[in-house]
């Protein structure tokens, strides 16, 4: 019964660092994947609404564009770039993992029961993805403020 109630934690279960023991980079990557996914979906809906203003003429288009032509707007767009690059990079890592690449060979589960799939290659990919996302944000900021 206790196991069942733990499974019903919902969103609290996502952010509970103690749920699966050590709060490792893999768990951080998993949470970030969901946050960036939801953020990108929200941005996409907003983007579709914003671009529909083109049908209302030049004045409305210019007014709607002005919202993103501010410092705050540029910072927001830089965040979108970062979310997009991270979500893409981590998504490719997960796809490759599901195809069996980079997760190690199956072996007998011996103490201390370290999962083969959570290895240095995977960790390096997560750090690299975060690094590339940060670089893309920096480049986006340079273009938008340039």
């Amino acid at each position: 019964m206790e196991k069942e109630s733990k499974a019903k934690e919902g969103i609290k279960g996502w952010i509970n660092p103690a749920k699966y023991g050590k709060f490792g980079i893999e768990r951080f990557a998993w949470i970030l994947m969901r946050i960036t996914g939801l953020g990108l979906l929200a941005y996409f809906i907003g983007h579709i609404y914003e671009t529909s203003h083109i049908l209302d003429g030049k004045a409305v288009w210019d007014a709607s564009l002005e919202m993103t032509q501010t410092t705050e707007g540029h910072i927001f767009l830089a965040l979108v770039i970062g979310m997009c690059v991270y979500h893409t990079g981590n998504g490719i890592r997960l796809m490759l993992g599901q195809m069996g690449y980079g997760i190690g060979k199956p072996s007998r589960p011996d103490y201390p029961y370290k999962p083969q799939s959570l290895n240095m290659k995977g960790k390096a990919c997560i750090y690299a993805t975060i690094g590339v996302a940060a670089l893309a944000m920096w480049y986006g900021i340079a273009v938008m403020f340039g």
Partner: protein, 117 residues
């Protein structure tokens, strides 16, 4: 409740992701063909939509991201809570939202590319 096997849905999820990444890169590169701010001027955006190839690409991008995004949302919502009624509501809700967004975005693409503004 199963509309498609979950393994097929996930293949669609990954396929739409790869397609969306490829087309998003082209979409962003179009902004780089000229100065970023200049490329977003009304006349330039209209000219972009009037290029039939680019309009088709935008429509494809709209469909791919909508399918991927709303399926991702469905997966997240079903991860948090399970139950036959809940899963049915989430699945049909996501499909309906996806259809509405595609219809709304397609209206912009069609009307602008056909000069109906």
């Amino acid at each position: 409740m199963m509309i498609l096997k979950e393994s097929i849905v996930m293949k669609i999820h990954y396929g739409t992701a790869l397609g969306a990444v490829f087309l998003t890169v082209i979409h962003i590169l179009m902004r780089m063909t000229q100065d970023f701010h200049e490329s977003l001027e009304y006349e330039n955006v209209i000219a972009n939509y009037e290029m039939i190839g680019y309009a088709i690409m935008l429509e494809l991008l709209l469909i791919l991201i909508s399918v991927h995004g709303f399926n991702g949302l469905r997966v997240i919502l079903i991860e948090m809570k399970q139950g036959p009624t809940y899963e049915k509501v989430v699945t049909y809700g996501c499909i309906a939202s996806m259809a509405i967004l595609i219809a709304y975005g397609s209206r912009t693409i069609l009307m602008t590319s056909m000069g109906m503004i």
